[in-house]
């Protein structure tokens, strides 16, 4: 995590003991050396290289693939003047808020709450069903939803109507599919968090006359707020990068109606072979992911204060 927060540790009063400390660092560093090297080569290296590529006009073929040139911020200037990118940016926002922050998060919490105090059988069945959706690969999930929403699909057959859902409401379709697929994660996080809420506290509130709504709002939610923030951060980052599900379900279409930023990046880099431009898009997404993380971390801190 590249989040710069001000250290709140007390000022160091005694001078550091240099000799043993240095030996300590060495003893600590030596066994870690290979791991650090691998990280540098396979993680940091490609990231730095991708940052560099984002400032060039590199392509996959053509003369620019052999003599790519440093073009400064040209890719970024083009990016922010590109209506297709701005559209994809907006759709990504809608997708993250709709499917992760509202959909998965709320539904996961509701299922976890409803499961409290239920019998073992009910819990197993519900857990099984929800988690089954989570463990299937993205492409399989997309295929399921495709056959459900297709013109001759299950939904139209059941409702007895003719509707091209994937073309009339592509964003709704991909948001629903992503909620379906990702709710299990939030549910598991909240189930674990809720089991930590002391039962006597809730009972005491009930005795004092607090209804279920007030108990949830004033007892349960404040107690699990750290889990809420952690969950929101994880599912936001996961959803920001979501590619396979949308690609397999709508391909970003029709037109650019469901083309979120990862799909736009794929199109630019691997369909149109603009690797430099594609890397610039990836870099912008990285910054957005970091910004979201910052906001959530800040919220946790505010809550703790």
């Amino acid at each position: 995590m590249t989040v710069a927060t001000a250290p709140q540790s007390p000022p160091v009063t005694s001078p550091p003991q240099r000799g043993p400390a240095r030996r300590g660092v060495l003893r600590w560093l030596l066994p870690l050396g290979p791991a650090l090297l691998i990280l540098a080569v396979f993680l940091a290296g490609p990231i730095l290289w991708s940052v560099y590529i984002a400032f060039t006009n590199e392509t996959l073929t053509g003369s620019a693939s052999v003599n790519s040139q440093f073009v400064g911020v040209a890719n970024f200037v083009k990016l922010f003047g590109d209506p297709t990118f701005l559209n994809s940016f907006f759709l990504t926002f809608v997708f993250v808020i709709g499917s992760a922050v509202i959909g998965q998060n709320t539904l996961g919490l509701i299922i976890a709450l409803l499961q409290r105090g239920r019998g073992r059988v009910t819990r197993s069945v519900v857990n099984g069903v929800v988690i089954a959706a989570w463990v299937v690969p993205e492409v399989v999930a997309a295929a399921c939803w495709f056959s459900f929403l297709a013109e001759e699909g299950t939904l139209n057959t059941v409702l007895g109507i003719q509707q091209e859902w994937l073309y009339t409401a592509p964003m709704v379709a991909v948001i629903l599919a992503n909620i379906w697929r990702g709710t299990a994660f939030s549910m598991l996080v909240y189930s674990a968090a809720l089991s930590e809420v002391p039962a006597d506290l809730v009972e005491a509130a009930a005795v004092d006359g607090a209804g279920p709504g007030r108990r949830l709002l004033h007892i349960t939610l404040p107690l699990i707020r750290r889990s809420i923030m952690a969950n929101l951060m994880l599912i936001t980052l996961q959803t920001l990068a979501s590619f396979g599900l949308i690609y397999a379900l709508t391909g970003g279409g029709p037109g650019t109606a469901s083309q979120t930023t990862p799909l736009y990046m794929y199109e630019q880099a691997f369909r149109y072979f603009e690797i430099g431009y594609g890397s610039a898009i990836a870099l912008v997404m990285l910054v957005i992911g970091a910004l979201f993380s910052l906001i959530y971390l800040r919220l946790i801190k505010v809550e703790d204060a």
Binding site: M1, F42, L43, P46, I47, W49, S50, I53, L60, T61, G62, S63, S65, V66, K78, A150, E151, E164, L166, Y167, L237, Q238, L240, A241, G251, G253, P254, G255, A257, A269, F270, R271, Y272, F273, I275, G278, S279, A282, L283, M285, L286, G289, A290, S293
Partner: protein, 451 residues
């Protein structure tokens, strides 16, 4: 964290070219890797190459041929090939290549010129017509691939649908309006049938550009993408807008496939495997190869197709001479500049494009052959009465301006077509967007001719 990981995975894929493959082993024997495309409904190339591998290995002891298939559409194949070509370690030695991509790869130094080898191959001078030899010629005048197929484009129509609609059979449209009138009549008289099908969305990639847009543009008076005399790309203009207006009319009047089908990667299969055989489609703007599926050996044998189907040239906009328009492209077998055993690689290319194997390929795919001896072989035209028609279209055909920039121009065209297909933009707006995007695609405003 998710983002850096995804970013680095992307880069690893690029750097490593999706898994390097040691082309050489240490025992002294040589290996040639051949990359090609395959789909469940399009097994023809694989069938031909498997045979060529057997023949080649029998006559070339010590050399093994490794066939590497890419599953999927043409678009998926171009991407995979471009990624593999990023590194000499992963680049295939020999590959199936679309001619419109050749010049970009020549500029990138990915392809090996074949002239020295071709000079010693008697078939090249005796069997390949000069026009076909241009198919994979680089800007430097060298040849970068041996043609395995060529093609022409025109209109297929279903005679039963035409009869039901009260339209004349044989049908000979003279103008775009004749085509639209026929489509409107079908819509009115034969409900439930798609009157007219064409490719017009990004998912169909180059098929939308070539079978769709260019078949219209090159049929307008003076319509072209590239001005040969000024050596500049033509920015929009009335021809361009007119071509988009035709597409727009098809979709706004609901004369074409439904949006769901227009955006379905499998539209081509629906047309040939479902709609035409069951009389659910009137007219389709497509190519010579469409009938290959209906042969006894095809994916959807339909013996009656020779009576039920008609074919006619795509007319020019208002019947301007020569009265018809067609576009030609094709595929070649090319050799990588990175190939370590170039003579062996070339030998394999000659086996794959021999008379016998070219025949297997052409009969299977329905593409027109590049070889004179195959064209003269009765096996080639057997059971396909349309072959002569498609071959004769060569007299009115056009070739794409296959310069290095062409693939990018093509993607700009696809964007414009998709915008009018969905109705997101009017033809004028889509043409304006093309004019705006063109300079960046072709490398600067000085390469663009304003219209």
């Amino acid at each position: 964290m998710k983002r850096p990981l995804a970013g680095s995975l992307l880069l690893l894929a690029v750097v490593a070219g999706c898994g390097a493959d040691p082309a050489q082993d240490t025992s002294g024997s040589k290996e040639l890797e051949v990359l090609y495309r395959v789909e469940p409904t399009w097994p023809h190339l694989e069938k031909m190459l498997t045979g060529a591998k057997k023949q080649y290995e029998a006559t070339h002891p010590g050399v093994t041929v490794k066939l590497t298939a890419v599953q999927g559409t043409n678009e998926a194949y171009y991407t995979k090939l471009a990624l593999l070509n990023r590194s000499p370690d992963s680049a295939p030695d020999v590959y199936y290549h679309d001619t419109f991509q050749v010049n970009a790869d020549v500029a990138a130094g990915k392809l090996a010129p074949l002239d020295d080898y071709l000079a010693k191959w008697p078939d090249w001078s005796s069997q390949f017509p000069d026009s076909v030899k241009q198919a994979a010629m680089g800007g430097d005048g060298k040849v970068y691939g041996v043609p395995i197929s060529t093609d022409t484009r025109g209109l297929w129509y279903q005679k039963d649908v035409f009869t039901k609609a009260g339209l004349p059979v044989p049908w000979e449209p003279k103008t775009w309006n004749d085509v639209l009138t026929a489509a409107r009549t079908i819509k009115q008289k034969v409900p439930g049938v798609v009157p007219f099908a064409m490719y017009s969305t990004k998912i169909h990639g180059e098929a939308s550009t070539m079978q769709g847009f260019e078949m219209l543009l090159y049929g307008t008076p003076g319509g072209t993408l590239y001005d040969e005399t000024q050596k500049k790309w033509v920015a929009g203009g009335k021809n361009f807008t007119d071509a988009l207006t035709f597409v727009n009319t098809i979709y706004r009047e609901e004369l074409g496939p439904k949006q769901a089908d227009a955006h379905n990667a499998k539209l081509g299969d629906k047309i040939t495997l479902e709609w035409f055989p069951t009389a659910k489609l009137g007219i389709s703007l497509d190519g010579a190869w469409a009938s290959s599926a209906w042969k006894a050996t095809g994916t959807k044998p339909w013996p009656e197709w020779t009576e039920k189907m008609g074919w006619t040239p795509m007319p020019t906009q208002n019947g301007e001479p020569p009265g018809a328009v067609s576009m030609s492209g094709g595929w070649v077998i090319a050799m990588s500049a990175y190939a370590k055993n170039k003579q062996e690689a070339f030998d394999f290319i000659t086996v794959a494009t021999s008379k016998e194997n070219s025949t297997v390929y052409s009969v299977g795919t329905g593409d027109l052959t590049a070889r004179k001896d195959v064209a003269a072989d009765p096996k080639y035209s057997e059971g396909n009465p349309s072959i002569k028609f498609w071959t004769d279209l060569a007299s009115v055909t056009h070739y794409r301006p296959a310069f290095e920039e062409y693939p990018k121009v093509s993607t700009e065209i696809q964007k414009a077509m998709e915008a009018v297909t969905t109705g997101a933009q009017t033809p004028e707006e889509a043409a304006a967007a093309y004019v705006k995007g063109l300079p960046a695609a072709v490398g600067g405003p000085d390469k663009v001719l304003a219209r």
